[in-house]
């Protein structure tokens, strides 16, 4: 038998049937559901008179629209409220496992799924959300889908898929102090571009990836979609298995050894071949800051805003000029000269306990700069929030002038009340710096939690390594 990549193994284990043109019917093990992309799917299912194929594959919660105000009891925005109430009703109708508002486990679906052990190695995991790639950190095949496909999975437990090509992104060596998983993935996107992974499933490997915690691996896989990839994934090792031990949805004791035996096979064979290979030295990666309106528009903290005049390609040059105009920045400005109006520490990219610890370590004993209008910390889940409070991190943040919020997607996409005003610059630990993403006219700079924390204190970007 020929050598297989991790992607080959995950794919092969889920093929129900293959058509003559190579299209496969792929079985889906886990379906995460949230309030924004599911109402039309539930409605479609009911209108067609089709039953839900497998209720126990679904874990549901509201995260995109939910308020983050401390101790909130209801959603003021009537349109948002209707959407969350629609999920409440669908969860009741279909008897779903549902973490409603008030449930201590509720939070961002991509934080809660792994936390509950609902994401396991070797699974196929889908959700009507592009950041589903996060779950690939567990050696799972995980990808985002649209609402029609959400309905398709509800009705059939399958998706019609064509296999992607396989790319290996290998990061070898050891990152320096102050350089995090976020910096690694931003550096990768800076190298291959936001369409660099289009048509590929990316496996992240190399010693710098293996050295990451599960939290760090989730950060890396989370942003595989920002490189255009169908999925991101990382091989299973002891770190993966130890993370899962004892979690609510982890295999029961009588199945644990059998599961672990299979999980240990979930890595690319040594002689497996990839369609593309990207190699990056970990030592070359500095803390990263995005300057533009696409995640590929990224530079190291020691760098400058680039000059479109030196870009040869006219389409790219014009894109850079539009980005600079939108961001209100001038070419060759040092990154450390960019002043911040708001700070956002949160999102499915960086709202896990390790992220909050890293930010709190920078903040401890310091104050948010007077020029910063608002600094938010939004934990990724109720359990992350409780853990952080048990460690006293909430008090570190509030003493410095940060607001300590309830879990949710919050200012990552500004569907709730947390958002930027026009023209405001934000140091954000989220995943997208698109125009208007965090509020109409808002200007997003993507950074790691430690870099966002340092920027909050300084009032402008600063190299966290010397801070």
């Amino acid at each position: 038998m020929s050598a297989k990549t991790l992607y080959d193994k995950l794919w092969d284990a889920h093929v129900v049937r293959t058509e003559a043109d190579g299209t496969a019917l792929l079985y889906i093990d886990r379906h995460l559901v949230h309030e924004v992309t599911s109402p039309q799917a539930f409605e479609g299912l009911q209108l067609a008179g089709r039953p839900l194929w497998r209720r126990d594959a679904i874990v549901a919660m509201a995260d995109h629209n939910t308020p983050t105000d401390p101790g909130f009891t209801e959603i003021a925005d009537p349109v948002s409220r209707t959407q969350v109430e629609t999920l409440d009703a669908n969860a009741r109708t279909f008897s779903l496992e549902y973490y409603r508002i008030g449930d201590a486990r509720r939070g961002i679906v991509h934080v809660v799924g792994p936390e509950q052990g609902a994401t396991l190695p070797g699974m196929t995991v889908v959700c009507g959300d592009s950041h589903t790639s996060t779950h690939g950190a567990f050696g799972a095949l995980a990808f985002g889908i649209g609402t029609s496909e959400v309905e398709h999975v509800m009705a059939t437990q399958c998706l019609v898929q064509k296999k992607s090509k396989a790319m290996l992104v290998r990061v070898d060596g050891e990152v320096g102090p102050g350089v995090t998983a976020k910096d690694i993935v931003l550096a990768i996107i800076g190298r291959i571009g936001t369409a660099g992974g289009t048509g590929y499933a990316i496996e992240f490997g190399g010693s710098a990836i293996r050295a990451l915690s599960m939290e760090g691996r989730m950060t890396v896989c989370n942003m595989a979609i920002e490189a255009g990839a169908r999925a991101g994934m990382i091989a299973v090792d002891d770190t993966t298995i130890e993370y899962l031990r004892g979690r609510a949805h982890a295999p029961r004791p009588e199945h644990w050894e059998q599961a672990v035996a299979w999980w240990r096979t979930l890595h690319s064979d040594v002689d497996a071949t990839f369609d593309a290979l990207v190699e990056i030295r970990a030592e070359s990666i500095e803390p990263q800051v995005t300057w533009g309106t696409s995640p590929e528009m990224v530079v190291p903290i020691s760098g400058q805003v680039p000059d479109p005049a030196v870009e040869a390609d006219p389409v790219r040059r014009s894109g850079m000029e539009k980005a600079l105009a939108y961001m209100g920045l001038t070419a060759r400005l040092p990154v450390t000269a960019i002043a911040l109006d708001r700070i956002f520490i949160g999102s499915c990219t960086n709202a896990r306990i390790e992220d909050l610890r890293a930010a709190a370590a920078v903040v401890r004993g310091r104050k948010v700069a007077a020029s910063v209008k608002q600094a938010l910390v939004v934990p990724g889940s109720g359990l992350v929030k409780a853990q952080a409070e048990a460690e006293g991190l909430d008090r570190v943040f509030t003493a410095a002038g940060f607001e300590w919020r309830e879990p949710g997607c919050s200012m990552c996409l500004a569907m709730n009340a947390d958002r930027l005003g026009p023209g405001e610059h934000c140091a954000s630990t989220s995943n997208r710096n698109f125009e208007g993403r965090q509020g109409a006219g808002g200007r997003t700079h993507l950074v790691s939690p430690a870099m966002a924390a340092a920027a909050a204190i300084a009032g402008h970007f600063v190299d966290v390594r010397g801070f």
Binding site: R17, E19, D21, T23, L25, Y27, V36, T37, Q40, E43, A48, R50, D56, H64, N65, V79, T82, Q83, T86, L120, G128, D129, S130, G144, I145, G146, T147, S148, E149, E151, H152, T156, Q157, C158, V160, S164, T194, A195, T198, G228, R230, R252, H255, Q258, A259, W262, V315, R316, S318, G319, K322, L413, A414, M415, R432, F434, E435, G436, R437, A440
Partner: protein, 212 residues
């Protein structure tokens, strides 16, 4: 799903790379629990000078005269000409619902983001990949010729210019089959329900922890 066979339509050029789904339909409109009515808010932040809100009457809002879809010569356009990596970002199918509701039947670009590309096919909107060089020439032609229209023939997999120049494009046979027939792919998958049950029975033996 509406079928797509042949379509001739006015072309509107959107000359920027990496157009993301946040730009196609901003987040405040995703709060709707319906599939329809997104057209007036397509490209909302580029199209209007104010910040749009759900439920607002867009007819009275100030329009950005510089945005391509507000230029009279592109009124009624049904083919969108775009640049690389169109539809990147969020998986929101609302982006395709908005394009469809506005009246776009096809989008032509050198490349598309995966999820957006799939979402198009589920809604009778045809995403067509053409070489970057060909797309460059189409942008130049649209700029110089008022009323520039393209004819798209999905069964033949061709795009034909007003001058009669023909470009072929690729599409997966299954996607083509569904689009041409306007087929409900859930219904097609359910024809294989026995295969799915057989797979589940086998998996339940091999990996019982994945069930229940």
């Amino acid at each position: 799903m509406q079928a797509f066979t042949r379509h001739t339509g006015l072309v509107a050029p959107l000359d920027r790379p990496n157009v993301d789904t946040d730009a196609i339909i901003p987040k405040q409109f995703l709060k709707s629990i319906k599939r329809s009515g997104f057209g007036p808010n397509l490209f909302d932040e580029w199209r209007y000078l104010d910040v749009g809100q759900p439920g607002q009457d867009c007819a009275t809002r100030p329009r950005n005269p510089d945005f391509v879809l507000n230029q009279p010569r592109y009124a009624g356009a049904s083919v969108l000409l775009a640049r690389e990596n169109f539809g990147c970002g969020s998986s929101r199918e609302h982006a395709v619902w908005a394009l469809d509701d506005y009246g776009f039947r096809a989008v032509i670009a050198p490349s598309f983001a995966d999820i957006f590309f799939n979402n198009c096919g589920k809604n009778g909107v045809l995403p067509i990949r053409l070489d970057a060089g060909v797309v460059d020439r189409l942008f130049a032609a649209v700029a110089t010729q008022q009323g520039y229209a393209l004819t798209i023939d999905l069964p033949a997999q061709t795009v034909t210019t007003p001058a009669g120049e023909v470009f072929g494009f690729d599409i997966d046979p299954f996607r083509k089959h569904c689009l041409v027939g306007g087929l409900d792919d859930i219904g097609l998958t359910l024809q294989h329900a026995d295969d799915i049950r057989a797979y589940e029975a086998r998996r339940r033996e091999e990996a019982p922890w994945l069930f229940g």
